[in-house]
């Protein structure tokens, strides 16, 4: 990462934890996780709590859907780390890599359910244009998305609009696809908490 404090500025106990994770998982802790451990009272702890709630808390969207939304927003923000990380989680959750690949390559032709498509269109506009209006929301509702599902999707968009920017500004290291697959299994089993 571009800031040395994010590579080396951790307390002794945290460094030991990082070493143990590497030994047991076979991979170094990803930079996204390391960031959460840096001065956690400032950013990491409240960010983690918000992300855990939106990605693993109660929702009308499945975990696969929510991870797909994270990957989709990340693609629009051109954040390579987050696209790879969350497309891997979504594909593992769905048990379907093809669905995720289709959405990320061309939403218009992807074979997905109408409400999921409608909410991705809404998040696409919000991410590209930084705002949406009531008409955009009514269009999504007409496609079968309820108001709570829209609020859930906006919260996911908020969380990943932050993470994407931090990943690219701090320069997260992009590991191998195998490491992302291992990370996906961890995030599905343990979540973000």
């Amino acid at each position: 990462m571009r800031l040395d404090i994010l590579n080396n500025g951790y307390k002794f106990g945290t460094k030991i934890l990082f070493s143990m994770i590497k030994v047991f998982s076979g991979y170094p802790l990803p930079d996204a996780a390391k960031l959460i451990f840096y001065r956690p009272d400032f950013y990491g702890s409240p960010a983690k709590q918000f992300t855990q709630r939106v990605m693993r808390g109660p929702s009308g969207w499945s975990v696969g859907d929510r991870e797909l939304m994270a990957a989709f927003v990340s693609r629009l923000n051109e954040c390579t780390f987050c696209v790879k990380a969350h497309s891997a989680v979504s594909a593992t959750a769905y048990g379907d890599h093809n669905k995720v690949d289709q959405v990320l390559s061309d939403l218009n032709t992807a074979q997905i359910e109408l409400p999921l498509r409608a909410v991705l269109v809404l998040l696409g506009k919000l991410t590209r244009e930084q705002s949406v209006n009531a008409e955009d929301i009514r269009t999504a509702m007409a496609a079968g998305v309820n108001t709570q599902q829209i609020e859930d999707a906006f919260a996911i968009c908020f969380a990943f609009n932050i993470t994407n920017r931090l990943a690219d500004a701090f320069g997260f290291f992009i590991p191998t696809d195998d490491a992302f697959e291992a990370g996906a299994k961890y995030l599905l089993k343990r979540g973000y908490a």
Binding site: L3, Y43, S131, T147, E151, F158, R165, D168
Partner: protein, 113 residues
């Protein structure tokens, strides 16, 4: 009732995050963290960096970071200001979206289902 509880939990967690980065203990003043959050009224070259974080984070380079550090800003201060810049832009988009959702519900008489 269930929907209201879910909404409240988002609101509380959202405000916890914003309050922590803007008002919690930090190396940079609350005024400067707020300026980074707003992406406004920062001295150069910091303003140029935060503008990139807000709108084209994928274009941030090692040089962008080094130039700001050479102007006397420590890594811990930079960490705080970049976080504030990222959360600020995400927050403006989120608030816009939530306002539009409230308008759509009010105009259309929709209810969460």
């Amino acid at each position: 009732m269930k929907t209201e509880k879910m909404t409240e939990s988002y609101k509380q967690l959202y405000h916890n995050l914003i309050n922590s980065i803007l008002k919690g203990r930090g190396d940079r003043s609350q005024e400067q963290r707020q300026a980074a959050f707003n992406n406004a009224n920062l001295p150069q070259p910091l303003q140029a960096l935060i503008e990139k974080v807000a709108h084209h984070a994928y274009k941030v380079t090692d040089n962008d970071i080094n130039v700001v550090k050479q102007n006397g800003i420590s890594e811990d201060q930079l960490f705080e200001l970049i976080v504030c810049g990222a959360v600020g832009q995400a927050s403006r988009q989120y608030e816009s979206a939530m306002t539009a959702l409230a308008e759509a519900i009010k105009e259309g008489g929709y209810h969460a289902s």
